[in-house]
């Protein structure tokens, strides 16, 4: 990429939780409009924490988050959302007690006038939601929930979108459908940063990728290059194109890991 700065650009962000103040120890992430960028790394590397710092759910203690030229670091999540950032968290990313229709409405609080038209578009794009519109969102299947969470984020017409493990817990087929959906979102001109544990499939649909290890950038580059990096294959992807490593590969995502 040359010339103009990417739409979403986080630099040197540091932060964490009250009980663990430095989980993210200086991370840079960026995505240009229309670009799909994967963020991969071992369980506990700080990927989810980094996204929360970018979205304002956690306040970074250092670093900048530029969104379309504005520095939004340290602002409230509402303000950052209003500036054009959508965030689909890893867990609890829908309002389970609200109906599907109400979930979509909650996605459009900044432009209430456009609510009906955008909901109609969402139903046209995701017909599955139509028959469920009156149902409580908690009654949806895992794949349907992820689709609803993404549809809710799109209701706000974000310029940039953060997705945290959107395919976690999905069947291979539902995961593939979701990757295709995310690719389509980026192709429509949105800057997308996607944390994923299905690293191979994620890299296959992405333009670029970051590898985070222990709260820091470990590697980044074009998705194909990251997928072919022998170190990365051995560490995260199970070393499929190379002889089996002597040591067992680091499990990419252990069940029951910390959220």
């Amino acid at each position: 990429m040359t010339g103009a700065a990417p739409l979403l650009q986080a630099e040197g962000i540091v932060g964490g939780y009250a009980s663990a103040e430095q989980v993210v120890k200086g991370v840079a992430l960026s995505a240009a409009a229309g670009e799909l960028v994967s963020v991969i790394g071992p369980n506990g590397a700080g990927k989810s924490t980094a996204l929360k710092l970018v979205a304002g759910l956690l306040r970074p203690s250092a670093g900048r988050v530029r969104l379309g030229g504005e520095d939004v670091a340290g602002r409230s999540p509402q303000a950052i959302a209003r500036a054009g950032l959508g965030f689909v968290p890893q867990e609890r990313n829908i309002f389970g007690a609200l109906s599907v229709a109400e979930n979509l409405e909650m996605g459009c609080l900044f432009e209430r006038g456009a609510m009906r038209a955008r909901a109609a578009e969402a139903y046209a794009r995701f017909p599955m939601l139509v028959e469920k519109r009156r149902a409580a969102a908690r009654s949806l299947s895992g794949g349907q929930r992820q689709v609803l969470a993404v549809a809710m984020a799109l209701m706000a017409r974000p310029r940039a979108l953060l997705l945290d493990e959107p395919t976690a817990g999905l069947s291979p087929r539902a995961a593939s459908e979701l990757f295709a959906l995310v690719r389509g979102i980026a192709d429509a001109g949105i800057a997308v940063l996607m944390v994923e544990q299905n690293a191979l499939e994620s890299l296959a649909v992405s333009d670029r990728a970051y590898v985070l290890v222990d709260g820091r950038n470990h590697l980044d580059g074009p998705a194909a290059a990251v997928a072919d990096d022998p170190d990365i294959r051995r560490l995260f992807l199970g070393g499929r194109t190379h002889p089996a490593p002597a040591a067992a590969p680091v499990p990419f995502q252990q069940p029951g890991g910390f959220p």
Binding site: L57, A81, R92, F95, G96, A97, M106, L109, M152
Partner: protein, 292 residues
């Protein structure tokens, strides 16, 4: 079964349904505040008393109709509730839910004594026309009881409509369900919290007024029902709106049957027993989604 026993049961059931409907309003207020602000606000009893005195001033001192008193009760209790939250409880929030709960108990004492100072300890009565009880088959009921019951049901219906049908109600349910996601979607959590406190405290004020209309008003009016209100909310599932209503009816009816079967002095025991039983057997309550 002898006829007079059956008659006694029917009468207790009817009384229980009516008193349950009155308990339901502060129980709803308590549960709504718990659902959104995540702490038990034990000032609900004192807020009910404050509302009742506001209604009494409007009705007995200013000579306005009881309906105007009920409206005043809602507004004054809502205002006092918001003041307590914004001036005192909010600051305790950093200390956690327990700090806020203890703070609310302290605020309840302050408010109760302010009312005592302003209005004295004497019983005060509303200016109501004397009316004869009516016989409904084997049971009797006063016209004021019927009025109170209908007002309580109407207020519950209005609350339901507000929560289910308005954008503000939707945002409140969203914050109760998933506060982080609500913030990401642009909801201002403090605004929703204060509106919830206003609505919840207002419900307490109306409930206190109806209880005062049923009996009389004194500075301990709300404090006396606090245990029953808390028990109703715990039984229904803390934070559950339908649960608070169901819990209030169960408590109201159980109290009347306890009075019938044992003696009035055991009325207070119902709340304790129910709270203990729920916390032991089913901490999430009847309709609660998460363990309390």
């Amino acid at each position: 079964m002898p006829e007079d026993v059956l008659q006694g049961w029917l009468q207790a059931l009817l009384n229980g349904v009516v008193s349950g409907s009155l308990l339901a309003l502060p129980a709803l207020g308590f549960s709504a505040i718990f659902a959104v602000l995540r702490f038990p606000n034990f000032a609900v009893g004192a807020l009910a008393t404050a509302g009742a005195y506001a209604a009494w001033v409007v009705n007995a001192r200013l000579g306005l109709p009881v309906g105007a008193g009920v409206a005043a009760a809602f507004l004054v209790a809502a205002l006092v509730g918001v003041l307590l939250e914004a001036a005192a409880l909010e600051r305790l929030g950093r200390g956690g839910a327990l700090m806020k709960a203890i703070g609310s108990l302290a605020m309840a004492m302050v408010l109760e004594n302010a009312l005592r100072f302003a209005f004295g300890n004497d019983l005060q009565a509303f200016d109501l026309p004397l009316a004869r009880d009516m016989l409904l088959g084997p049971v009797r009921i006063g016209p004021q009881q019927i009025n109170n019951f209908l007002v309580a049901i109407a207020v519950m219906a209005a609350l339901w409509a507000f929560l289910a049908l308005t954008p503000l109600g939707r945002s409140m349910r969203a914050v109760a369900d998933n506060p982080d996601l609500a913030r990401l979607k642009g909801v201002n959590p403090r605004r929703i919290a204060l509106i919830t406190v206003a609505a919840g405290a207002g419900l307490c004020g109306v409930g206190g007024t109806l209880i005062g209309l049923d009996t009389a008003i004194d500075p301990l009016l709300g404090g006396r029902v606090l245990l029953s209100v808390f028990a109703a909310a715990v039984l229904g599932g803390l934070g559950s709106i339908p649960g608070a209503v169901a819990g209030a009816f169960v408590i109201g009816i159980a109290e009347e049957f306890t009075v019938l079967a044992l003696s009035p002095s055991y009325r207070m025991a119902v709340g304790f027993v129910v709270i203990l039983a729920v916390l032991t057997v089913r901490p999430a309550g009847l309709l609660g989604s998460r363990a309390a």
